[in-house]
Amino acid sequence: MKADIRVALVGNPNTGKSTLFNTLTGLNQKIGNFPGVTVDKKTGFSTLPDGRTAEIIDLPGTYSLYPKSKDESIVFSVLADHSNPHSPDLIVVILDASNLKRNLLLYTQVADLKIPVIIALNMMDLAKKSGIHIDIDLFAAKLGVPVVPISARKVEGIDKLKEAISFANKIALQQESIDVESLAPGLIAQISSELKLDNSYYALQLAHQHETIKFISPAQSDRIEELEKEFSFHSQKAQASETIARYNFINDLLYDTVKVPETAQLETTSNKIDKILTHKVFGFIIFFGILLFMFQSIFAWSAYPMELIGDLFVWIQSTLHQILPAGPLTGLLVDGVIGGLSGVMVFIPQIAILFAFISILEDTGYMSRVTFMMDKLMRKVGLNGKSVVPLIGGFACAVPSIMSTRTIENWKDRMITIMVTPLVTCSARLPIYTLLIALVVPNRNVWWVFNMQGLALTGMYIFSLISAIVVAFAFKLILKGRERGYFIMELPVYRMPRWKNVIYSMYDRSKSFVFQAGKVIIAISVILWVLASYGPGDRFKHIEQKYHRPQYTQHLTPDSLTRAINSEKLENSYAGVLGHVIEPVIKPLGFDWKIGIALITSFAAREVFVGTMATIYSVEGSAEKMESVQYKMKTATNPQTGQPVFSLAVAFSLMMFYAFAMQCASTVAVVYRETKNWRWPAIQFAYMTVLAYVASFIAYNLLK
């Protein structure tokens, strides 16, 4: 779609910017990446009253043009760099009318860039409720820009805002707020003349940010550095005096235009809620209650849709097998590509539900209280208050949890959270644990109430949390922080969640998961399918011929014949050969080549383990029939020793392996997507594999 005018949305966090963006663009939006950086770019189109189309770009929420996180640094780049493909014709600054003072700081900075600007004064309803009176006409006149009062939540004033966008001036008419030149006398003029800039605030920002911004050449950056030395420019001091000057301007402006009552009514309501929700005792009880509910719902609500998706893909696969002629191409498409696709799609319900919860918790303002309560505890192990949510979400699935770490501004805290989240027992490990525990742990009660199998399973869950904390602590010592850690965070007023935003968030995250992680998962599934379906030389042909002999065809039913063929084919496939190849390596852990095959095939997804076991021990019925797999595994004996294969030592060794090993292509893909560097998933894969090997080795040798 071609747009007639490009509009950038700028504002503080918690001002309703995303709500306004969703209202302006509807579902007509696209998420991409800003070139070269990991920041999500949200753009959408809106039809203006005069019939023209406006492209709206939603910039990350920020308190100032001086960035504190990667997300925030994009704001200045997009606004100031005219060669940026997203350089806007018009900026809409959204201000929270109930908290104008702090909101206006960003406005005055943006206005000084001299790009046409409109103010959308949001939360007018809240401001009125708390008795704040704003003389909008005087306010607009003093700033020299159009001011449109809106309520993004109640969809009020949106038409007026669209009108203002279509009538907007092509040249910037806003009033000067501060004397920019006096902040760095001489330097600004010099930079402006050498780099041929027509805006002194832009020149000042370059002086502050020239080391980090990408749109100026290294030579220009070096020259600015030289000039700074010449004029003895001190970035932080200049920034401090700029902020003070801007707040002086803002205080004068507000003195004339805004009347605030002595005690704001709204705050006390929020305060009352906080007294309970951040209470010494109730605060934690409520928090764990919410987590428990979240955790339960992710399991309970996603079970049925996940089953439906699974069934749908089984149906598609079987139908395609009937329609399409049998052959390697059909096999690749149906079992490789579509099989891989089903592995992606089946995660959607969990992702959507987890993100629905997270967006509700964020929208209401509760998430910042969780951070507030947990920060001290989490900081001790190198994490951050905000790491709590991804870690708990990891019980369901590491993929959406790693995506949710974006709320952590501090780079080191975020990386550690990403690195340890896959250690938490996710739902894909559950079938493996239940299968193996049922094999070796007797199903009886100890001390009357505790079931031993249940205790073993609970133990695995607790063990995973402890290992995540220990590994986090280790990373805290290894990783070097890029920035000084600090925790200056707004505690927004409690509000009702906006259901529309919740739905958008579910849709957004699921979509980006399917498209981004999906590619990698399908690729790996195809490779695994090839490994499991083909064998070296003409071994497969010999197997087919062998089972066509009358001694087999006459004594076996067609079903068991197919199973016998499949089982022997798997043994002779590349995957089976690989299983034999890695046998010496995994022998110290108590594993034979058959378990080796399962380790290889479940590389892409842990839950494949049960299916592979089912194929190897070729059981009756489908892989879903856990009991029959269990029976076959229980009766499986080592041909050399005559002892059962799955002893207590082997089963626990396997569980330890799955507890630590990064057997999940989706997680690898999402870690790459979130860190934009193959180094991180590689480090994670390496450390988890080493831990898995060591833990298995210890478990096997202790229990042997």
């Binding site: 908290n99 932080q236 920034q239 951040t278 600090y486 505690l491």
Partner: protein
């Protein structure tokens, strides 16, 4: 007197900062010299704290609060 020495419910007016880097961030968030700050609450584990400043609530760690000197 430092901000970190106030009890819950007590108020103070910002005079200056001991840490330039931190002061830049705090001032952006509205903690300016001359501004009144009230301690709203302390986190259940004793750190961080929540303050009310220029009409909204801000949370910061005790260490950060100790860089703010009151009048």
């Amino acid at each position: 007197m430092r901000l970190s020495q106030l009890e819950v419910g007590e108020k103070g007016i910002v005079k200056e900062f001991t840490d330039l880097e931190m002061s830049v961030k705090l001032m952006e968030m509205g903690c300016l010299p001359g501004e009144e700050i009230k301690i709203s609450r302390i986190a259940p584990l004793g750190d961080p704290i929540a303050i009310t400043v220029s009409g909204y609530q801000l949370s910061l760690r005790k260490f950060e609060a100790s860089t703010i000197i009151l009048q």
